[in-house]
């Protein structure tokens, strides 16, 4: 039994350290830095891939595989390691037993619901008794921003009135998703001040989300829990386009568009 070369940290220990490092890295990143507890099921899924990947790297050559296995074989088979062996034999079953025992306890943590926040839009949408092609759909008022700024300003204002009568309850006066009733909803209303929301979307996408509301979402976005009403039932097509103008104007965001990209 010859070791290929002497290492500062044995390979097996390296393996254990990498796994532990990644595990605590996740916990540190999510629970401490981001302040959002990482769900256990998600963490175990991540760790499964991390362990599998690390194992592959550590055993990719025959030599390295042997380096991993040898210390374990030695522990079991080498008579000179009797004391260590006895300790490991006592501790390992105890740990396994404790793990099984705790994992069999029923969890009272609410099940995790992973949903897509900006799901892929359909090619076209049906609303107001007609079909809109989302690839070519544009805000009919956007061009007035340059050609008739006075008219544009008036339209933005009308959009603001639509917003305050209909949307502020959830999305808030500040458009930050913190309206008076936001805390009572799950998922919480979208924050338009966040650079990750309307600034990433085209106006046609926003039109789709408003016109068809929560029930118009695809399955991966969990339409059954969204509190977004089907605005087609309350607002005219025109009002939706105006409220979209207001969302971008108030937040100072620009809609994405195929033309400029």
């Amino acid at each position: 039994m010859s070791m290929t070369k002497k290492r500062l940290i044995p390979r097996l220990l390296q393996f254990a350290l990498v796994i532990a490092g990644v595990y605590f890295g996740f916990v540190l990143l999510f629970d401490v830095i981001l302040g959002a507890l990482i769900p256990k099921s998600l963490l175990s899924m991540y760790m499964f891939f991390v362990i599998a990947g690390t194992f592959m790297v550590f055993t990719c050559t025959e030599e390295s595989a042997r380096e991993m296995v040898d210390p374990i074989k030695a522990l079991v088979e080498d008579p000179s390691k009797k004391i260590v062996r006895n300790i490991v034999y006592a501790v390992l079953p105890l740990l396994a037993g404790a793990y099984i025992f705790t994992s069999l306890q029923l969890s009272f943590e609410a099940p995790v619901e992973l949903r897509s926040i900006h799901p892929a839009p359909p090619a076209s949408l049906k609303a107001y008794g007609k079909r809109f092609d989302l690839a070519t759909l544009e805000n009919p008022y956007r061009k007035l921003e340059k050609s008739d700024p006075e008219k544009f300003k008036k339209l933005v204002f009308e959009g603001g009135e639509v917003y305050i009568k209909n949307c502020q309850y959830c999305h808030g006066d500040r458009l930050d998703g913190k309206g008076p009733y936001a805390d009572g909803l799950n998922p919480t209303p979208l924050n338009f001040q966040d650079v990750g929301t309307i600034a990433q979307l085209q106006e046609s996408y926003v039109f789709w989300r408003i016109a068809t509301g929560g029930p118009g979402l695809p399955k991966e976005a969990a339409p059954w829990i969204s509190a977004m009403p089907v605005w087609e039932d309350f607002l005219s097509e025109d009002e939706i386009w105006k409220v979209i103008l207001y969302l971008y104007d108030y937040t100072g965001m620009r809609p994405r568009s195929w033309k400029h990209e």
Binding site: V76, E77, P79, P93, A96, A110, Y163, I164, Y181
Partner: protein
């Protein structure tokens, strides 16, 4: 402490004003611009952020006016609800208005603007808002005299309680339990409906539940409402400074901390009851059940939408045994709305409707993420709805069972046939309604069959019949979870011991066979 803090603030303010004045002298020739805010810049901000509710003329007639209760403040009248100047002084301190702009008002549509505006911008807005009432040159003449704050203590609270309950001061509107259970109908200066504050829910106080803020409210009253000043020497109900501190300390002590909404607590945990399930709403065993409190939001998804709710939270406790499950719903409602009842009709917005509450459960417990649509289910995911109504002077309370597949597809069913039972009680501004249903029913196709250890989606709705709530006009919660916690079992331990034994056995066998091989080789 408070006084020195105040002094510091005043000094700071003075410094800011001095600095402002110096800058003004440096940069403009215009005489004396407002000490700490620039009204012209305030106007620009106001017209972008504030007009929607408060209106371009500051008269509270913005587009949102009709959808809000309390209504947006009318600045033209120059009357402010939350201020620290003397009770007989209309003019508020700039700091009072600054604070409202900065922090907003909980329980209203007014948000805290510190999230979007800089300190200076908020002062500018305050300065501009003053111009609506012509207050730009006005200075308040009197201030609240806080004397020396009396720190809270059991003695102070006891003294405050006595003052609160005696002499027709507070109880008449706020109720004996402080929950605002009304004995009369209240209106604000704009004829808007007002309800006395529920003092057990400090998170709904517009201007915080710090004892000093409560002292301010008791001292100045709330202008524009029927909350009077208790510092007014002409009032028969006048309280001394010391007495007002005692009442403030008592009010702080009323907070129902067990029923605070906790965003992490989304699972109603039903424990196994020993023996029979509680048959009443005041059974002592309910005190041991862990309460879960959820926010109620108005129904603004389906037609007709509802914008001015009065109920804001609902607290749920649950227990079960081998036969049935019991759900106790508790919520504060300032009026017991029994149509036909003389007092109830007088307090409420007549004609009143019955109070009510409902529980929504899926007919089938979902095995994956997909649940029924939270607004009364959908075509492929029906829900059970248990609805209680408080009854009228002519008819007793009722329990109704229905199955829904969306707002429009509702099938009325026989509650008794499914074994659904209710008990209710109303005490000092709090409804408690107890629902009991067998774990399983004869109609497994249409009724949820309760199962231990499964996460069951559950949602609630409530109706305040004195607040024009009936039909689709009500408050509701989003989906939460209910879990029937299985009684502790010895299974996990048995399996753990078994695994330990097997693992140890395997390891021993490995070592032994290796040793045997060694001797063979040797």
């Amino acid at each position: 402490m408070n006084n020195s803090g105040n002094a510091m603030r005043k000094i700071n303010q003075l410094m800011i004003r001095l600095l402002g004045a110096m800058l003004a002298m440096l940069f403009t020739v215009a005489p004396a611009i407002a000490a700490s805010g620039d009204a012209e810049n305030g106007k620009i901000i106001y017209e972008k952020r504030c007009i929607w509710c408060h209106g371009g003329d500051g008269d509270g007639s913005g587009a949102a006016e009709k959808f809000l209760n309390p209504p947006p403040r009318n600045f033209e009248d120059g009357q402010y609800k939350f201020k620290t100047t003397g009770f007989d002084d209309m003019v508020p301190n700039d700091e009072d208005n600054f604070r409202m702009v900065r922090d907003g008002m909980p329980g209203t549509a007014m948000p805290g603007w510190k999230a979007l505006l800089s300190e200076q911008e908020m002062w500018d807005v305050v300065q501009y808002v003053k111009t609506f009432a012509g207050y730009e040159e006005e200075k308040p003449e009197t201030q609240i005299d806080y004397g020396t704050q009396i720190p809270t203590s059991p003695e102070s609270i006891a003294a405050g309680k006595k003052l609160f309950e005696d002499g027709d001061r507070c109880v008449e509107c706020h109720g004996k339990a402080g929950k605002g259970s009304a004995t009369k109908s209240l209106k604000g200066d704009y004829k808007e409906r007002t309800w006395p504050r529920n003092l057990t829910k400090p998170w709904t106080f517009r201007a915080s539940n710090d004892p000093k803020d409560i002292f301010s409210r008791i001292s100045t009253g709330i202008p524009g409402t029927q909350m009077p000043s208790f510092a007014d020497p002409k009032s028969k109900k006048k309280l001394s400074i010391e007495e007002r501190w005692n009442v403030a300390n008592y009010v702080v002590s009323l907070a129902k901390t067990k029923e605070v909404v906790d965003a992490e607590n989304t699972v109603i945990k039903a424990e196994v009851a020993e023996g029979d399930l509680p048959a009443t709403t005041d059974d002592e065993r309910w005190d041991q059940a862990v309460p879960s409190t959820f926010l109620l939001v108005p129904q603004i998804i389906g037609k007709p939408r509802f914008f001015k709710p009065s109920n804001d939270t609902i607290t749920v406790r649950a227990m079960y045994n081998d036969k049935a499950v019991a759900l106790l719903l508790e919520w504060d409602d300032r009026s017991k709305s029994i149509p036909g009842d003389e007092l109830a009709e007088k307090i409420g917005d007549s004609p009143i409707s019955e109070d009510g509450v409902a529980v929504q459960l899926p007919v089938v417990i979902p095995t994956e993420m997909e649940k029924p649509y939270w607004g009364m289910g959908d075509a492929t995911h029906p829900v059970n709805i248990w609805q209680w109504k408080s009854g009228t002077t002519k008819a007793p309370e009722t329990i109704a069972l229905s199955n829904a597949m969306g707002f429009a597809t509702i099938e009325k069913r026989d509650a008794a046939a499914s074994g659904l039972q209710i008990k209710s009680s109303y005490d000092n501004g709090t409804w408690r309604v107890l629902f009991t249903r067998p774990l399983s029913t004869d109609d497994a196709e249409k009724d949820l069959q309760f199962a231990e250890g499964r996460f069951i989606p559950v949602a609630f709705a409530a109706w305040d019949g004195s607040n024009s709530e009936s039909g689709s006009k009500h408050t509701m919660t989003t989906w939460y979870w209910m879990l029937l916690k299985p009684a502790p079992s010895s299974m996990p331990l048995a399996i753990a011991v078994l695994v330990m034994g097997l693992l140890l056995g395997g390891l021993m066998w490995w070592a032994r066979s290796a040793a045997a091989k060694d001797t063979e080789n040797a």
